[in-house]
Assembly symmetry: C2
Homo-oligomer: 163 residues x 2
């Protein structure tokens, strides 16, 4: 599966579509999953993800140009300089997307043996999750308590897709 | 862009990949965005999303078979029975994924005119967001406070991709 082609203009103002264009491709998201789990070197990523080397290399390059990963040089004794891949701040901010995908899959398409990965709080060891909350501090029980409203960009979007 | 092909076996136990396989396709996610915004009828979805009718029909069918949408009959005066598309409980649970994609795009790839869509709390009108929190109630400031640990399914995953 190749990366998605550029979005047509009428979708370009949808933040969901723009984000998905960047990270929605399967290998790209698997790379991000591994980097979040602390895997940073090409050979380790290659071994864990199983993507063809050229595909992996292309996806890493794309994540670097998009400002989601940056390269950090390292050198093992007697070896040439190589590069680790580290998350930038923009890359770190992708975390809720991965957590949301993981939790939905664990809940609604559980693996027979249980989850392969559990995300826990570093300080207390309890599993983590996402909570929906408003800026006034109210916690929302479900999506039914959300009201979508047109934002400042809605005028430009007119009757074409928004969001 | 056609839906992703089935995942190879060694990826099938990754909840992130399984979820993405189901909802990661562009038109599918745009359909979900619209349904979450209260758009339920084929003609309205077609007009707002701009997908070819056959593509839209195929994606809706796939979301129904996957148990994310259900069809509800309705009849306008003098018309044949038609169907609305409504979110099931499993479909409603996809909401954090869409919110996470939307917020990342609004923050890191903002549209020049501002967001076209703002999600607000029904009861107080304030914008909503996602918070990362552990089961003990601690709030996490960032992904750096999360520790990934092998879950019960990790033994089956061996050294192949997990998560």
């Amino acid at each position: 599966m190749t990366p998605a082609p550029p979005l047509p203009d009428d979708l370009a103002h949808c933040s969901i579509a723009r984000t998905l264009e960047l990270v929605g491709e399967k290998w790209t998201l698997l790379v991000l999953r591994e980097v979040f789990n602390g895997v940073r070197r090409f050979e380790d990523l290659h071994r864990r993800i199983g993507a063809p080397r050229q595909v992996l290399s292309q996806r890493l390059g794309r994540l670097v140009s998009a400002g989601l990963l940056h390269r950090k040089p390292y050198q093992d004794p007697g070896q040439r300089t190589r590069y680790e891949y580290r998350l930038t701040e923009a890359g770190l901010d992708l975390y809720p997307i991965l957590v949301a995908l993981l939790h939905w899959g664990d809940t609604h398409r559980p693996a027979p043996a249980g989850p392969a990965l559990v995300l826990t709080h570093r300080d207390c060891g309890e599993p983590i999750g996402l909570a929906l909350r408003c800026r006034a501090g109210h916690e929302l029980a479900s999506a039914r308590e959300v009201r979508p409203r047109p934002g400042p960009g809605a005028a430009h979007a007119a009757d074409t897709p928004a969001g």
